[in-house]
Symmetry: D3
Subunit: 68 residues, 6 copies
């Protein structure tokens, strides 16, 4: 383990909406779709395409909890 | 749909570390364990216990993406 | 109470700037205008219009405090 | 204007829960109570007390929107 | 000290990507480039230009730690 | 590049405040001290000690900008 970030959810990219400054990536995980907002700079550098494997990464402080 | 928060991952609470001000909740989802940091105020008001069903809730802006 | 998110500020939508990927919503609350950044996906699904009632929702970990 | 942070909500500190590492501050604003999580280091340096005036500060990217 | 936000890193703006709703600002600090995502509203109000001095501001809860 | 997280600031750990649930780590970088809030779970798993090299990691959406 090399990072303090606790949450790394494996999945497959199912959608990319590329914007001028930010882009949205949707990752289909076993727990459902996870939507992410990243800089378009990162999208281009990571060269992500729909169908690629990817990890959705989230710091624990950013995760809330709700009753179903 | 009533909220702009995009990510609601269903699971079961498998661990709670109760602190004086903040508490950690781990939720076992189909995509793996999700760790959350919430106020202990919320933990007490939600009366969460290990074994309860719960949703891990995350805003899309807080989700990064990584290559496996 | 069904969520750990502590802050729900009631108000009325006074401005929407719709972008390709993200959109800004300004909510006039009794404590002043609150600016929010959400995915345009959510804006469209929530079908928000200027004049609608809305809640600005913020996790406690995301709130800083300053001296006036 | 000297900061990109969009949201500064005026109020009065009504509650402080001091922890070893993090502390919770509740600020009573005209729009209701806002709960904040800050480092105890900051709490001590700012010398905040219940009754003090304070601003709850939030970046727009951290604000979600919900239907009432 | 007037704010609970712990991190203020001095530098010079080296790049601005202006978007319709959000804009990216890159600040060259002594520790390397820091990329920031702010509302275009703020960018316009702050009248930032490449070459300006600026502070990258981050709440401690938003900072993760990794092993090199 | 394997991650969308844009900001990785190199430095040396100069202070650790270990709490029951969260811990604070201060990293001395060339641009000044960066304070981080991580879960104590991560602190223990990463086995960080004062004097260790470390990276302060921040998502661009979490970085604000201010005029000096």
């Amino acid at each position: 383990m090399k990072t303090s970030l606790r949450n790394h959810l494996k999945g497959k990219i199912v959608n990319i909406i590329r914007g001028q400054v930010v882009s949205e990536i949707e990752i289909e995980t076993a727990a459902g779709t996870v939507a992410s907002m990243i800089t378009t700079h990162s999208l281009d550098h990571l060269e992500f395409k729909v169908g690629d494997s990817a990890l959705a990464v989230v710091k624990a402080t950013e995760v809330g909890v709700e009753k179903p």
